[in-house]
């Protein structure tokens, strides 16, 4: 079992997300996270799915999603050759004696404080899923009021030519 990342370039139609997620559910494929966004082409949406499974299951997921009529292109993204990012926002209570210590951790992880309000502040981190996990581990003993974490988005490094179906 390992974490895998796949990218689907799909037609930007109503219902396409429902088709993808319904297919995953029907076949018992686990979705760890999923993001959808527009692309530079108005007809194409980009879906990034993080999933956990063995290679055979992953290959089956790829082949089943390839059968969706609206899926124009599907590829797996290898973390070694790619940039995979998630956004994390954490609201901390500022009512703590160890505020300076917490701020140091935030700084060390490259996170930023993006809002300060009465009694609380919000830190934001854009990093790989593993680093986001690490950050959450590092700050877990501080008073977190709320956290919000996006799904992953992924881009391969270097020049790659994609040919759409």
């Amino acid at each position: 079992m390992r974490k895998q990342c796949m990218v689907l370039l799909v037609e930007n139609n109503a219902g396409v997300l429902a088709r993808v997620s319904s297919l995953f559910m029907q076949r018992g494929f686990n979705i760890d996270s999923l993001t959808v966004s527009s692309t530079d082409s108005p007809n194409i949406s980009r879906i990034t799915v993080m999933t956990t499974g063995d290679n055979r299951t992953f290959s089956q997921i790829m082949k089943q999603t390839s059968k969706l009529v609206e899926a124009k292109m599907i590829f797996s993204v290898e973390p070694e050759f790619s940039l995979i990012r998630e956004i994390l926002m954490v609201k901390f209570s500022s009512d703590t004696e160890e505020l300076e210590e917490l701020k140091k951790i935030i700084e060390r992880f490259g996170a930023h404080i993006i809002d300060m309000s009465y009694g609380c502040f919000v830190a934001e981190l854009t990093e790989s899923p593993q680093r986001v996990d690490d950050f959450l581990e590092a700050v877990k003993s501080y008073r977190m009021i709320e956290i919000c974490r996006s799904g992953a988005i992924a881009l391969e490094r270097g020049l790659i030519d994609y040919e759409l179906n």
């Binding site: 219902g15 055979r56 082949k63 390839s66 059968k67 609206e70």
Partner: protein, 552 residues
């Protein structure tokens, strides 16, 4: 030419070569039915008793002809009644276009009368589906639907059309019939695979519905004859090879021939062609074909390594792949291997004939003898289905229509009507049982209305035979809800609907009844009384192997 959406729909159907559709009218499709009325000299619409029957009829029509079947239903319950029929077609890779009406666009999402989100409901049981948003898109969507349904691995496509779009007008620009497209076969290892076959000592072919859909019977025959390879078929491929042809071992799987299953178990090379290692064949995925290297040929890449990891695979249309493969196949003889299989054949299950009562194999045999090998045989689901698969003398690839993947009880009557409309000159026999027939017997009215002389042969054991068989073997004869004790008088029902009916208790009586039935110009029901203890044999229980075969 300015036309309304309904007229455009019918014109595109005509473009696609459709002359027969099945369906049932209703509020949301009134405009479509108005157009069908206008074009009734060009398109024949068969109205069934229930939309499920119409969906199965479109399926039977498609299986019997290879053409795409078309079914039309109204919104809401009309659409949901299609669901079982669409799922049946999906599981067996049958090309179908289902057209549903929906409430007008401005009422969608308001829980309007007879509104249902059929696109959402049918997402997992269609290759694709469409909701038409404007009339300008309609013609191209319908064309695309026909293309998707028949391309690659075929399957059903649904088009949902809100009522306002069936009335809106736009310019209709005629187009040519769409041409289905198959993915180009990937043949890079074909010589290596041919070498493997040429060197094999105990080769074996297990083939399925993909061979039939591809029309590759001739290529398969050439392969098994030239390389002397014994072959067994799945339920979906009955008739691709003639029952009496050399090297045809018959049915494989749970209720397949012992010799076929034994050969699969002992082979050193197994060629799986146009098939998907379903759990009714690869009963134990660890042990199925474990002595052989497996070569999997299928048009659907997602079938490769789905259930069984293949040592070699080729994705592509079976006919194209086999044509290419044959270029490298050398003539061979496997005398030891075929002698071994001949020995296993002596252990194949052979039921005994009786004259005083009807035994299931005699019902099938007698019916087949009178109706002939050219007849189309359609089944429902259960014991009778397997008996038909085992004992019919299959000789034609599109003459055995059965719900294999979904196992839909109630499939048969609708499908038989569809097959009869497609092949008016052929005898169509519908094998069913008292259990299955009770699910959709209402379609008898359709057969009467349209004078469709389908012969329904009921293997009547007064119980749900297959359920009861399992309860007998695995549940210590606790026959829970499988002995309904129905008192239905089938002859009276047949006559009440306007058909004819007979009761038979011996092979001689069945022969007499069949002789009358094949001459009838309307539907006939033949109630064949069989013993409730009759079992489908042999049987390999789920998860087991040929070594666990039950013979009695």
């Amino acid at each position: 030419m300015i036309l309304n959406g309904s007229e455009i729909l019918v014109n595109v159907l005509l473009e696609q070569g459709v002359d027969t559709v099945f369906g049932y009218p209703g509020g949301a499709v009134l405009n479509i039915y108005d157009a069908l009325y206008k074009y009734s000299d060009k398109i024949h619409h068969y109205m069934t008793a229930h939309e499920q029957g119409a969906a199965h009829a479109a399926d039977g029509y498609a299986r019997a002809t290879g053409k795409t079947g078309v079914v039309i239903a109204t919104s809401g319950p009309g659409a949901t009644n299609l669901v079982t029929g669409i799922a049946t077609a999906y599981m067996d890779s049958v090309p179908m276009v289902a057209i549903t009406g929906n409430v007008p666009t401005q009422l969608i999402g308001c829980d309007s009368f007879q509104e249902v989100y059929i696109a959402g409901i049918t997402m997992p049981i269609t290759k694709h589906n469409f909701v038409v948003r404007k009339v300008e898109e309609l013609a191209d969507i319908v064309r695309e639907a026909f293309k998707i349904a028949a391309s690659g691995r075929p399957g059903p496509v649904l088009i949902d059309i809100p009522k306002d779009i069936t009335a809106d007008k736009t310019t209709y620009v005629p187009a040519e019939k769409v041409v289905p497209q198959n993915p180009r076969p990937r043949l890079k290892n074909i010589e290596e695979i041919a070498g493997l076959i040429n060197r094999a000592e105990r080769p074996f072919i297990y083939f399925g519905g993909g061979v039939r859909i591809s029309g590759a019977g001739e290529e398969l025959r050439e392969l098994i004859m030239r390389a002397d390879i014994p072959a067994a078929h799945t339920l979906m491929a009955a008739g691709v090879l003639g029952y009496n042809e050399k090297n045809n071992l018959g049915l494989i799987g749970m209720h397949g021939c012992y010799s076929a299953n034994a050969a699969a178990n002992r082979a050193d090379i197994m060629l799986a062609i146009g098939t998907r290692f379903s759990d009714r064949v690869a009963l134990n995925t660890e042990k199925f074909g474990h002595n052989s290297r497996i070569v999997h040929i299928d048009i659907d890449p997602s079938e490769i390594n789905k259930i069984i990891v293949a040592d070699y695979s080729i994705t592509g249309d079976v006919k194209e792949v086999l044509t290419e493969l044959l270029k490298y196949i050398k003539p061979r003889k496997h005398d030891d291997w075929t002698a071994q299989i001949a020995k296993w054949k002596r252990d194949d299950y052979m039921p005994e004939d009786r004259e005083d009562i009807l035994r299931p194999h005699q019902v099938i045999d007698t019916t087949c003898r009178i109706a002939g090998e050219d007849a189309i045989y359609v089944t429902d689901v259960g014991q009778h289905q397997l008996w038909a698969a085992q004992y019919l003398r299959h000789v034609k690839p599109r003459n055995f229509l059965t719900s294999g993947g979904l196992g839909t009880m109630g499939y048969g009557y609708g499908a038989a009507l569809g097959a009869q409309t497609a092949c008016p000159d052929k005898t169509v026999v519908h094998f069913t049982s008292d259990g299955s027939l009770h699910m959709n017997m209402n379609e008898l009215c359709t057969a009467v209305s349209y004078k469709l002389p389908v012969i329904t042969v009921i293997l009547n054991n007064a119980v749900l035979g297959m359920v009861r068989q399992w309860q007998g073997v695995f549940y210590d004869r606790r026959f829970s809800s499988s002995e309904p004790e129905r008192k239905t008088d089938y002859v009276a029902v047949a006559r009440a609907f306007g058909g004819e009916g007979y009761v038979c208790e011996t092979p001689a009586e069945l022969e007499e009844a069949m002789k009358k039935a094949v001459k009838a110009d309307g539907p006939v029901w033949i109630d064949c009384r069989i013993d409730r203890e009759e079992k489908v044999l042999p049987m390999i229980p789920s998860g087991q192997t040929v070594h666990d075969t039950i013979f009695k």
